[in-house]
């Protein structure tokens, strides 16, 4: 069994959103890649940066407005507290099936060898510093650096 046995050798996952469902999708894909012996790297840009900001990462929400899959009428979805309620319910369900909270999930990704990068342009735009980020984030890099890291056969780039 060799690391490059399968066709996909490396997943480069870009996370640009901060809603819980998108963040978890990205995390599960990165973790799943490592579990299969595939290399994985994550690039956090725009709102995706919320998932690695130490002050914000445990306070991410699911969207109750503009999200038809929630089956909540738009007017009701906007009522204060609705998003928190939906988020709490979702987190409870996730815990039951062993999906860890965001910080613990980042720890798992880090320990599993997923390389974590933050987007320089978005960091500048939101006036963020490296110290504001989860400690496992290796570096703030440019889009050019990101493509450089994606070099090689069998690399797939996924934008979320």
């Amino acid at each position: 069994m060799s690391e490059f046995n399968g066709e996909i050798r490396k997943m480069m996952i870009i996370l640009s959103k901060a809603t819980l469902d998108n963040v978890y999708a990205a995390f599960i894909l990165a973790n799943g890649a490592r579990a299969e012996g595939i290399e994985a790297e994550m690039f956090f840009t725009f709102f995706g940066l919320e998932a690695i900001q130490t002050k914000k990462l445990e306070h991410l929400h699911v969207a109750t407005v503009g999200n038809p899959a929630m089956h909540i009428p738009t007017l009701l979805g906007g009522i204060p507290g609705m998003e928190s309620l939906a988020t709490t319910m979702m987190k409870k369900e996730m815990d039951k099936i062993d999906i860890p909270p965001v910080h613990e999930f980042l720890d798992i990704l880090s320990a599993s060898g997923v390389r974590l990068w933050a987007c320089k342009l978005a960091m500048d735009m939101f006036h963020l510093k490296k110290e504001d980020l989860y400690e496992g984030v290796e570096k703030v890099i440019t889009v050019g650096d990101f493509y450089e890291r994606a070099k090689g056969l069998g690399t797939h780039i996924l934008f979320i």
Binding site: M1, S2, E3, I28, N31, G32, R34, A35, E36, G37, I97, D98, I99, P100, E104, D107, I108, A111, S112, G113
Partner: protein
């Protein structure tokens, strides 16, 4: 589908992916052979992890990486260094238990 193959001089029942389908056929020689095929040399630490995995299987615990991390036997980083390529898949195969069907 179940088929048999020779592992450590014995006819062993395996599935399409090479996982044992009859745990009673597992023994340490089988584990050594499967580990060798995965290019892993089993150390006492590996054995400890394999025993823990088998114990979970006996208790019918659905395995995933989070549970391995909370096992107290090995942390996730070490688990990846012991079984570098697809650790849970590889370790369960060597342990003679089914491949976990988890996305975590």
């Amino acid at each position: 589908m179940s088929q048999t193959r020779m592992i450590a001089g014995k006819e062993i029942k395996v599935n399409d992916e090479g996982y044992l389908t009859d745990y009673n056929q597992w023994d340490k020689q089988v584990a050594e052979t499967l580990a060798n095929e995965a290019r892993i040399e089993l150390t006492p630490k590996h054995w400890q992890v394999l025993e823990w995995l088998q114990e979970q299987q006996r208790k019918e615990v659905a395995l995933n990486i989070r549970k391995v991390g909370a096992s107290g036997v090995v942390d996730i980083k070490e688990f990846y260094s012991l079984f570098p390529v697809g650790p849970l898949k590889t370790a369960t195969k060597i342990a003679g238990i089914p491949k976990p069907a988890s996305c975590i």
